[in-house]
């Protein structure tokens, strides 16, 4: 039977860090229910190259192996491009092997950077990555003005903390955040996206985690380690040196 991949796409500033912390705290409980949380550390070890983050449930390495080089994502601004000169197709095939080797029938992969994917070339790599797997993409969207305010605030904090300038450059000819925000373009890139509406969820649940658990087909009441985290605190510090 084909494995199912629940692919959490973010976006940034829609409760992603809460979800990734939930995944980290509940890794064993999820495993008991047949869900393996794919770890950024495992991917980096498999490839021998990649990004290092304090929260290993953010699969930045996997997402950036697909992502076109002109995108100046926060992690690239801080840690550079660890794949420089490497054959992306070989990296992606290696990651596909890793995913297929996992014995559990369900995989959970989370990385906001997946939401930056737009091009046909990226789609080819995406299809290679998930070849032989059934993917259910989960995307949390938010009202544009609130999202922009939160996104700009995050960038200012990262820039101040790390002494780097962050530019929303999502394609060579689009140095702004319009493409970054474009939910329709994200939905068009992925097949069969399930959308979570941030404002409705926060109004109804007060947290993105219970609906996320429901989207996995699980009962939120079965999990005790649910942290309610306000989307205001600064993100965890990033390590500035890529591992090669």
């Amino acid at each position: 039977m084909m494995k199912t991949v629940f692919l959490h796409l973010g976006k940034h500033r829609t409760g992603s860090t809460s979800i990734q912390r939930f995944l980290s705290c509940n890794r064993d409980a999820l495993l008991r229910q047949g869900f393996c949380v794919v770890s950024n550390d495992d991917v980096r070890d498999r490839l021998g190259v990649g990004y290092r983050l304090p929260n290993e449930t953010n699969n930045v390495t996997m997402a950036h192996a697909l992502l076109r080089e002109c995108v100046e994502s926060p992690i690239r601004a801080l840690q550079g491009d660890p794949f420089d000169g490497r054959d992306r197709r070989l990296l992606v095939m290696s990651m596909n092997g890793l995913l297929k080797d996992i014995p559990e029938p369900n995989l959970i992969i989370s990385a906001e950077a997946f939401s930056f994917l737009r091009t046909a070339e990226e789609r080819t790599l995406y299809d290679m990555l998930f070849d032989g797997l059934q993917v259910i993409p989960l995307l949390c969207v938010r009202e544009k003005n609130q999202w922009l305010e939160s996104w700009m605030s995050l960038k200012r904090r990262i820039a101040a903390r790390n002494g780097v300038a962050l530019v929303d450059r999502v394609s060579a000819d689009s140095p702004d955040h319009e493409l970054l925000y474009d939910d329709r373009a994200i939905v068009a890139f992925f097949t069969g996206v399930r959308l979570l509406h941030y404002e409705m969820i926060m109004r109804t649940y007060g947290s993105v985690i219970p609906p996320f658990i429901e989207c996995l087909g699980l009962n939120p009441a079965a999990f005790t380690e649910i942290e309610f985290r306000e989307n205001r605190s600064p993100p965890p510090p990033l390590q500035a040196t890529p591992e090669h």
Partner: protein
């Protein structure tokens, strides 16, 4: 043999004062060339039907005056004699679940909530920013519990004029209906959705978690991004139970002529 719908003979009211009869006769049009009567039901492809009949009857030459149909709903209304003498009749039916979702998106999300509900829920409307919390679940409860009738969600069964129609078409199988009508009566049925933008065809449909809880304001935000929830996303057990109870006749009618509704939802299973 009974020609007109059996409901009319059972009505205790005078025929000309019967809301059931008036709904039926006011939503029928005569197609002159083929001597055919069409029953067009609101939110069941009725703009396409009214436009195509206006073209067939020689009032419109093409899509440039398509808005004309909205001011002339009853211009081709048949007499009872026309109905009796008609050589052919047809009606389109739609999945009741899909129709109620479509009415909500079209009339409330794109339309004016206040104008529709002013008389029925005036007090509620005085609450500030109702559009920031009023959702599809509220809408279904409003119209089922307050028995609030509007033609856009009035049961499809209420519009039937004849006891039996020559053809009952499924709106979901529009192309088959086009072909049948062309062959049987030479009637060219055109799809006006792209002309009138009443529907959601210019948006990308996406599965949304519990779309029935999205407020009108949330839905407008999504639409501004070119996205609309799939109709299935609006359904949950509670809502389906309410709809199945309130529009029971429509489920029976649809199933009798078109089979299992596309959005059929086994409560507790989906």
């Amino acid at each position: 043999m009974l020609k007109f719908h059996h409901d009319f003979a059972a009505s205790p009211e005078k025929l000309v004062a019967s809301p059931r009869f008036l709904a039926a006769i006011n939503h029928a049009s005569l197609i002159y060339a083929s001597n055919a009567v069409c029953t067009w039901i609101p939110k069941v492809g009725c703009s396409s039907l009214r436009y195509s009949i206006s073209v067939a009857n020689g009032f419109l030459a093409g899509p440039e005056n398509v808005q004309w149909i909205h001011k002339n709903n009853r211009v081709f209304q048949p007499t009872l004699r026309d109905c009796y003498d008609a050589d052919y009749s047809f009606v389109f039916l739609r999945c009741p679940l899909e129709r109620i979702v479509s009415a909500f998106v079209d009339k409330l999300v794109d339309g004016d909530l206040s104008a529709l509900f002013q008389a029925q829920i005036g007090k509620l409307l005085k609450r500030p920013q109702i559009e920031s919390f009023y959702n599809f679940g509220n809408f279904v409860r409003t119209i089922t519990r307050l028995q609030f009738v509007n033609e856009h969600w009035q049961p499809q069964a209420d519009f039937l004029l004849f006891d039996t129609y020559g053809d009952y078409f499924n709106l979901h199988d529009f192309s088959r209906a086009q072909e049948t009508l062309r062959k049987k009566i030479g009637f060219e049925l055109e799809d006006t959705r792209s002309l009138l933008r009443h529907d959601t065809s210019q948006y990308r449909e996406v599965d949304v978690f519990k779309a029935h809880s999205l407020s009108i304001a949330d839905l407008r935000t999504l639409k501004s991004q070119g996205l609309v929830p799939t109709k299935q996303s609006f359904l949950c057990d509670e809502i389906v139970q309410e709809v199945q109870a309130h529009w029971r006749k429509d489920f029976e009618l649809f199933e009798a002529h078109c089979g299992r509704p596309p959005l059929w939802h086994e409560v507790g299973v989906a």
